[in-house]
Amino acid sequence: MAEIPISIAEIPVHLLIDDGGAAERVRQHYAAFLDEGGQPPALTLSVVVRAGARFVPIEPGPWIMNITHQAGQITFESYLEAGEADLNKGTGQVVMAPEGSLENVLRVLYAWLCLRQGGLLLHAAGVIRNGKGYAFFGPSGAGKTTTTRLSQGIAQTLSDDLVIIRRMNGRYILYGVPFRGEMAEAPRLHAQAPLTGLFRLRQAQRHAVVPLTPAEGVAELVAAAPFVVADPAAAAELINVCGALTAAVPVRALHFRRDAGFWSMIDASV
């Protein structure tokens, strides 16, 4: 049994993997996020690798992850991986096929772990510029990868798809995550910066930064938070977390065209 401690957004998770080959692949994939701090884990996840494991029929169509949640008890099931976690006890189990991956399992679990700690896993591009963190969020096709590419040479890329935002010591911090987006060359940095700008992306003919009302900002953030709207209690908690975030870092709409000129609008707005 290999024990692999990782830490994403300062939330430690220990992976106990019963297969040497799978453990080595996980160790390499999350090399930048291995936790050497010795912090007690928020979750210890036992991983059983089982040849031939299948849970959801593989058919053409959108990627499927069936999730249930009730008072900290989560079940999840995808094509090649399935399991459960008790976030109150900090334990969980996964069964996966040798060709499976923990990536989507960890996305789901971290989404819930973040929410329980007043944070948010957000569908957003994240960059750091001059020591300040900026998140550009929206659904697929909104322009996350585009704004990330346009920011190269201007800002350090954290991710073109997912970031974590957490309140730490009285301020919100933008964290990089190891999860892949569309941009294969994105480095998936284990880095963080104070969150300075929070922008809902809208493709347009000209650059503009447009304020949103706090309620509009919350609604946009809720829509961009994957996995965690599984029951009314979680939905209420998600709204509260997004409400607290928008009170500290207002959400704005970034109307942008396909050049890096939007940064001058951002610089003028924050």
Partner: protein, 98 residues
């Protein structure tokens, strides 16, 4: 029972919060998100299981200086829309809990 004596209250599958006068609603079953305008948000705020439709209309009559009968008609129509979209439920008795 007349419809205006019914008590609207949040649907058990809906989470909502009024932020700076605007209600953000999240329907857990469908993941649908709605933001209500200020008057709609005030109605949602008053739809707490403790006020009848008539009482809500009466409050709006004072707050917005509008005719009571028009307010009652508007509140009834709007609440019915929220009932249809599973944001609210109508009860024939006051609600004392979730």
């Amino acid at each position: 029972m007349q419809a205006y004596n019914l008590y609207p209250a949040p649907h058990p599958q809906t989470a909502g919060r009024v932020i700076d006068g605007e209600a953000v609603l999240l329907l857990a079953e469908t993941n649908e998100i709605q933001v209500l305008n200020p008057v709609g948000s005030r109605i949602f705020e008053l739809a707490d299981g403790q006020h009848t439709l008539a009482e809500i209309a009466s409050i709006l009559t004072e707050e917005y200086n509008v005719d009571f009968h028009q307010a009652l008609a508007d509140v009834s129509e709007f609440v019915q829309q929220l009932v249809d979209s599973q944001v609210l439920v109508l009860y024939d008795q006051p609600r004392t809990g979730p």
